[in-house]
């Protein structure tokens, strides 16, 4: 099961990174969201995997590590705030630049004013 868990985290990282490397803002936001899932799962797993051992005193004999859970809990909420910030930044960027390309390239490829950026 550890292997399966690690593979899932790895897959989330791969797909997240791939999306982050795209050129338009929206896929990047998706990628960041996915990447933060991966990070949260990774951090969470540093307390090791255990089943039916929630860290609520009196409900079981052994307890899962509560510390990573507390850290990840706030990470989830802050992750949301950051995602929201990036989303708004993307909207603002699109409004100001007229394009949702991360490098500010206009969609119109034929335009000569379009600054060609080597990527």
């Amino acid at each position: 099961m550890e292997l399966l868990y690690a593979s899932c985290v790895g897959l989330l990282v791969s797909c997240g990174v791939f999306l982050i490397l795209r050129s338009r803002t929206f896929p990047i936001v998706l990628g960041l969201t996915m990447f933060s899932y991966a990070v949260n799962l990774f951090l969470f797993s540093s307390g090791r995997l255990s089943i039916n051992n929630a860290a609520v005193l009196g409900y079981s004999t052994e307890y899962a590590d509560p510390l990573p859970q507390a850290l990840v809990l706030t990470a989830i909420v802050i992750g949301f705030a950051m995602t929201a910030f990036v989303v708004i930044l993307a909207i603002r960027g699109r409004t100001d630049l007229g394009t949702d390309h991360v490098d500010g390239q206009l969609a119109d490829k034929n335009s000569d004013n379009n600054k060609k950026v080597k990527v």
Partner: protein
């Protein structure tokens, strides 16, 4: 504390003189002179102790852990330099009072001069090499200010930049060298370093250390091929040149050679590098000086040549050579300062420095001419003057060495040639300027300068004579003390005397004088020959090479930094991949000792769903709505994972956040294009897949390695103390609001800041709202479905009650402020979706910013509250109460803190979504972008 006061007084003087702008010139000069005169008197009072062989030290601890102290020391060598720096400095300040025109700011020049003086004093008196380097750099910077004093002249600016570039670059090399030196010896203390000759020279780093230190010294003292900055520094006012190029700036490099002579010299590489550099500089400078038409240009190259001579002496393999070098340092400072000052007078009185125009000045200023001629004769090495004595010693020393093996006879021959050249250019200085016919087209009618302008020159020329005739009387003590310091204890018996009898050095001197005069009389042929050579313009070459270096850097920078964020991200990921991946290859075994748990059906199913969702998100990423839906599957599965692996709090948080995130992204899609165009080339896609796959593998491997190893956690403490110390059984929540409450406070602040940032970004945003979707279909007329509207209304109180319940039980069971806040926010957002924000705004006027602020304030004051009970910030208090009809209830201050968290979360979440949703409600534009 006397030692510390010497540089400190000079620094004080710099500050004082910068404030004398409103005073008369005499007052300003007088005030400025005060500090260096006091410093000079203090130095004189210390001199007898130093002459008797004592080394005076003063140390103030600064960073004892790193061995960095503020440390000063005064030995013979330092004393000699302090005398020169202060003595000539005082004369220069006095001289500058008459030199500067009324348009020039005197306080500015004085302030820079005194700053420079401070830096020089710091160099020669430092007992810590890092501190020495600091002052070294300070000389570069203050000399930059001095050279560019006439900042409106392009020559001055360029000359200053050139000097700064060359000496600053050398300074960096010196720093590297000194750091290596400190590492070899294990201390930055000069005393320790000077006593560690064997350790340093036996070390593998010796050669590189030596080369770096020498680079610093050679650039500073304008040794060939780094000499070219010095002639361009002549754009400075003449008093500055007189100071910088006689006793100070360029002598700092020489000082460095002398300072580290006990520790670094004595090896073959030292002799080869130092003597050959010195020899080539000596010859080159003397030769070029002959052809300069500008008086200051002649003096500049003559300075280069004499610096080469001193360097060569330090490079010769005899102890007496070092003594001769020190002697020549003194003599050169004296006659060169006076010559520069005389040149300044000529320039001041005639308006030109061009020797082709200046002729026959003898008739106009006989007194100045006499002084200048004596000084120039000293430069040429004419008997009865100080220059003769040290030149004689130099000639003698060139005869006693085996540096070039069987070709060693070349050195005295070349030295004699250089001597002849020096005689020739000195003769030119005298004859061309003061005799040789009548002046041609002078801008001013020449006359004698103001009486007191000559005083500094008179003093210096008198010194030339006194030293030249009675050497033992004046310089014996200081020369012996300085030699004692340079040679590290043992000083050979030597006698500085005018007459040593008829010997080889005297013959060399005679040849030099006669040859030099011959050279000068036949100079026409030499000038013709020189004119036929291709001219090498150092300034142009320098400018071009600087230009080329800048261009090259710009190209390199734009190659890697082309403004493409996409590319930066890619590069960053590649580096993460390299640095995170590399250690994995050095691990023997990935898996740990922990027993693996078997995969059951539920987990397999969940994992499969998660993977399918993830991959689908990527596959359909261009169809944005589809990929968003797929992403929500992933988010849901993540919360299921948390549920499965004993983290109910996380699962609840993830679930609610997921809802909010997806709604937010849906809203965002309204303002963003609904499709991503196909842009990436196949090559790029393959490259990105490779990078992301690599990163995924690395992270998965690390994750696997981590979770298969046994856990050593500090959480046992939290589990043991949650109930007794924090009063709750839900350990995760107790950690959040109690044990790590301070972290949580920080985190809700971040949340609030993010929300405020978003608010700010959206204010006054001129959004163009599409009238139709990307397919061209207009939006539905019925914007708020009636079914959702009626259900959501009845759901609201229910949802609020649930969130209240979750909040209250949070301390003991899964729940708490974060989750409850999110649930409340979702309940309100549902109202927004069902009715539109204008409907809400009409019924509920809430200022979310104030809500966020009050949430953070509540949390903060709960923390502060514990101060009133004499406890540290955020100590939790709790008590159980028995309330009739309800039963036993626990009240804890942590609960109040959680209220703050709750309010902040609600405020921030709603503000983010409501501000965005508000925009969608504003009047539509008719354009579809």
């Amino acid at each position: 504390m006397t030692l510390l006061w010497i540089p400190l007084l000079s620094l004080l003087g710099s500050i004082i003189s910068s404030t004398t702008g409103k005073l008369t010139r005499n007052q300003s000069t007088g005030l400025t002179l005060l500090m260096p005169v006091i410093a000079l008197l203090m130095t004189i009072s210390l001199a007898p102790a130093v002459f008797s062989g004592e080394v005076i030290r003063e140390t103030i601890s600064w960073i004892p852990l790193l061995g960095i102290n503020i440390a000063f020391r005064l030995d013979g060598l330092a004393l000699l330099f302090v005398f020169m720096i202060l003595g000539i400095g005082i004369l220069v300040i006095f001289y500058a009072r008459y030199y500067l025109s009324s348009n020039d700011s005197m306080p500015k020049l004085y302030a820079y001069l005194m700053l420079f003086m401070t830096a020089m004093l710091g160099i020669v008196m430092s007992n810590n090499i890092i501190q020495l380097w600091f002052f070294w750099e300070l000389t570069s910077i203050s000399s930059f200010l001095l050279i560019s004093y006439w900042w409106h002249k392009p020559d001055a600016r360029k000359g200053a930049i050139m000097a700064l570039t060359v000496t600053g670059g050398g300074g960096l090399a010196l720093l590297a060298g000194l750091l290596l030196l400190g590492n070899i010896v294990g201390s930055y203390d000069l005393d320790v370093i000077l006593a560690s000759k064997e350790i340093i020279q036996g070390h593998a780093w010796y050669e590189i250390t030596l080369i770096l230190v020498l680079l610093g010294a050679f650039t500073k003292s304008a040794q060939f091929p780094f000499h070219f900055w010095l002639p361009h520094a002549m754009a400075a006012p003449t008093p500055v040149s007189a100071y910088l190029h006689s006793a100070t700036m360029v002598k700092a490099g020489i000082f460095l050679l002398a300072r580290f002579y006990p520790a670094l010299a004595g090896t073959d590489i030292w002799f080869i590098l130092v003597s050959l550099t010195g020899l080539s500089t000596l010859l080159f400078g003397a030769y070029v000086a002959l052809f300069k038409h500008d008086l200051k240009g002649l003096l500049a190259y003559s300075t280069i040549s004499h610096l080469g001579l001193i360097t060569l002496l330090f490079g010769l393999d005899t102890k007496l050579a070092a003594v001769a070098a020190i002697f020549h340092i003194i003599n050169h400072a004296i006659f060169k300062a006076s010559l520069f000052m005389a040149t300044g007078i000529i320039d001041h009185e005639t308006g030109t420095r061009d020797m082709r125009k200046l002729n026959g000045m003898w008739r106009f200023m006989p007194y100045t001419a006499t002084l200048a001629m004596v000084a120039a004769a000293a430069m040429a090495g004419v008997p009865l003057l100080n220059g003769f004595l040290s030149k004689e010693m130099f000639f003698a020393e060139t005869l006693h060495q085996q540096l070039l093996g069987s070709m060693s006879w070349l050195i005295p021959v070349l030295a004699t040639i250089a001597g002849a050249l020096a005689v020739a250019y000195s003769a030119r200085f005298i004859h061309d300027v003061f005799f040789n016919g009548d002046p041609i087209d002078l801008p001013k009618q020449p006359s004698e300068p103001p009486r007191y302008m000559r005083v500094p020159i008179e003093i210096l020329v008198a010194l030339c004579l006194v030293v030249g005739i009675f050497p033992n009387f004046i310089v014996d003590d200081v020369l012996k003390a300085a030699s004692f310091a340079v040679l590290g204890g043992y000083v050979p018996e030597f006698e500085v005397a005018l007459w040593h009898g008829f010997n080889l050095p005297l013959l060399m001197s005679a040849i030099a004088v006669i040859g030099g005069l011959l050279l000068y009389t036949q100079r026409r042929y030499l000038f013709q020959f020189q004119a036929s050579l291709p001219s090498l313009n150092a300034k142009k070459t320098f400018d071009e090479s600087i230009y080329r270096i800048t261009k090259w850097c710009q190209r390199k920078i734009s190659d890697s930094e082309n403004g493409s964020l996409q590319r930066y991200l890619m590069l960053m990921f590649v580096f993460v991949l390299l640095f995170a991946g590399w250690p994995l290859f050095e691990m023997n075994q990935l898996g740990g000792q922990k027993q693996l748990t078997p995969i059951d059906v539920h987990n397999a199913m969940g994992a499969a769903l998660l993977m399918v969702g993830t991959i689908s998100t990527v596959i359909w990423y261009r169809a944005r709505v589809v990929s968003l839906l797929m992403l929500s599957v992933v988010g849901l599965m993540v919360s299921v994972v948390f549920t499965r692996f004993s983290a109910p709090d996380l699962a609840l948080t993830q679930l609610t956040v997921e809802v909010v995130t997806i709604i937010l992204l849906m809203l965002a899609l309204f303002f963003l294009p609904q499709h991503s165009p196909k842009e990436s080339s196949s090559v790029r896609v393959v490259r990105d897949i490779a990078i992301s796959a690599g990163l995924g593998i690395v992270v998965a491997s690390i994750c696997y390695a981590l979770i298969t190893r046994p856990l050593e956690s500090i959480s046992a403490f939290f589990l043991a103390n949650a109930k007794t110390g924090g009063g709750g059984t839900n350990v995760v929540n107790v950690i959040l609001v109690d044990f790590r409450g301070f972290d949580t406070l920080g985190e809700i602040c971040v949340l609030g800041i993010a929300a405020l940032g978003i608010y700010k970004l959206l204010v006054n945003l001129p959004l163009v709202i599409p009238a139709s979707d990307s397919e061209g279909r207009p939006w539905a007329k019925e914007r708020y479905p009636i079914l959702l509207a009626s259900i959501s209304q009845s759901l609201l109180p229910l949802a609020l009650m649930v969130s209240f319940y979750i909040f209250l039980r949070g301390h003991n069971l899964p729940g708490g402020g974060f989750i409850a806040g999110l649930v409340t926010a979702v309940a309100f957002i549902l109202q927004y979706i069902a009715h539109g924000s204008s409907w809400i705004v009409a019924r509920l006027t809430i200022n979310y910013r104030k809500i966020i602020a009050s949430g953070i304030a509540i949390a903060l004051f709960t923390g502060v509250g514990s101060w009133f009970f004499g406890r540290p910030f955020m100590t939790t208090w709790f008590e159980y109460f028995d309330i009739p009809f309800i039963g036993e209830i626990e009240l804890a201050s942590a609960l109040v803190f959680d209220v703050g968290v709750y309010i902040t979360v609600v405020g921030a979440t709603l503000m983010i979504l409501a501000s965005l949703g508000q925009l969608a409600n504003e009047p539509k534009e008719e354009v579809n972008t």
